[in-house]
Symmetry: C2
DNA sequence: CTGCCGATGTAATTTAACTACATTTAAATG
DNA sequence: CATTTAAATGTAGTTAAATTACATCGGCAG
């Protein structure tokens, strides 16, 4: 856990003098890591051992070790930050911002995804005789992508971005059917109804959505991720990216589970694509 | 500049003993930051002052200061590294790896994208009377996504993932037409031919692809990105993610260029979506 | 072969960090 | 309200780490 956050969180638990130390550090962490224990003690108006005790309280070996942790947390705190695009931004500027925000979003998704849930979703997928991917609006592209990906595994897979087709597929569903529903908010009425319908017909339902949403509650397995909301008008919809990566994760789990024979299959697909391409060294 | 990179880059300039130090640090930086100068000297089989001199050569005040820099660079130097999935990986493990590889790919794309080219692409898009997004295979999902995004701007936009439809659109193209072709390799024969056809019919062609590809050469504006190749079977196709973010960048540039009136339009679209959703506080 | 310069090591010095103990402060109980 | 006790803080001494100054080694030019 990030050291700065840790200090902030424990502020209440510290003693009076320790809090003085904490405040000095929080106010100017960059100065703090460059100071000796004596300097810092003077700044906080406490004795040197107090500073030392403060460090140990934060599970470090001592002052130098604490400085190391602090330094890391200063650097590590915000590798990629989500920054809003301003109307005055130059192309360089908004390009960077959007890439960085996207990476920040993926990082946040990574932090919040539950590998155990991934595992259960993979369980269902490998056992499925028929896989459907459903997504509406922005998530429909993700569903298409998923279809493309799983199609290479030589699995009966389809995707729909049409509510009627979704319902029809669900009505014909059976126990071997796995339905993957993709929705960032998890509040799209149509999709929630489809989830219900699918379960009524004994299909397994995997939801790729956000935590505590109606859709998550309706699913057999809810693969949830926290992705910063797109409050800003200019902001890209980072959720699609996270969803796509989640699909990649499921696909990978799927391949791993299926073992070697399926990997050969993948190779064949890749090779089949080759002849539709210009060679790397071709003149054109 | 990142300390680890700095060491690596200066390896040649170091003296024999200093290089020993450098190698020990590069081999196990995590150990290095936890060691004292004496320990590190012993590990590198050199004397303590040599280590100290090594530190100063890298523009630090001394050993402790160097450790701080190193710690920071460990934290933010290579935040996300692309690592291959092993068949023995646990769900936790492959989930992390895939997210991290995706982020690393986006980072690499970010480094290599040319903002000036982005700007020219935005020029073309804003002037276009009709925008087409074309993508085949894995890129077709990206094209769909782009359509969805630009549709919100109330611009005549269409996407196709069918070669025949692409050709038909190109034949009817005129000067006001902007064709955006999406292909990671830029070697798909069909797409390159479509690019040619589009230009013959005076359409503007934007390619989102990789550098020095046939498709890049055929386009009016080639928005190229370096994305690590998917050599590994298990690896996700990171290129799609980069392409999507590139679309986000173009969309953002588009909105910024169009100014305030168009932003109002965006708001209206967002609001229109609202009523198809369950409220956040709804009971279900 | 010899003298010089850069590179490296040794030993001494300085500085920083830590420990043990003393003192203060605050809290609780009779 | 006084007294006891424990927790918190500070002081001084100790230890360990880092740095400096100086000595020595080794390679290269003259």
């Amino acid at each position: 856990m990030n050291t700065i956050d840790k200090i902030q969180k424990n502020l209440a638990n510290f003693s009076k003098s320790e809090r003085k130390v904490a405040e000095v550090i929080l106010a100017e962490p960059q100065i703090a890591i460059q100071s000796s224990i004596a300097t810092l003690a003077k700044m906080a108006d406490v004795s040197e051992p107090t500073v030392n005790r403060f460090c140990r309280r934060l599970d470090t070996k001592g002052f130098p070790d604490f400085k190391l942790h602090l330094a890391q947390s200063l650097a590590n705190g915000t590798p990629y930050v989500s920054r809003h695009v301003e109307s005055s931004d130059s192309p360089e500027s908004y390009t960077s911002k959007i890439f960085e925000s996207s990476m920040a979003a993926l990082d946040s998704a990574k932090q919040s995804i539950d590998a155990q849930v991934v595992n259960r979703a993979v369980d269902l997928l490998t056992q499925g005789k028929q896989i459907y991917f459903f997504g509406l609006g922005a998530s429909s592209a993700v569903a298409h992508d998923a279809q493309n990906k799983f199609f290479r595994f030589n699995v009966p897979v389809m995707c729909f971005d049409d509510a009627l087709m979704m319902r029809m597929s669900c009505i014909n569903a059976s126990e071997g059917t796995v339905v993957v529903l993709i929705s960032h908010t998890g509040r799209t009425k149509t999709l929630v109804e489809v989830a219900k319908l699918a379960r009524e017909n004994h299909a397994h339902v995997i939801a790729i959505t956000s935590k505590d949403s109606p859709l998550a509650r309706e699913a057999s397995v809810a693969l949830t991720m926290d992705v910063p909301e797109d409050t800003d008008l200019y902001m890209p919809m980072a959720s699609r990216l996270a969803q796509m990566v989640a699909i990649d994760v499921l696909a990978t789990g799927f391949t791993l589970r299926r073992g070697i024979r399926f990997r050969d299959n993948l190779k064949r697909v890749k090779e089949a694509l080759r002849e539709s391409r210009f060679e790397k060294n071709s003149s054109l």
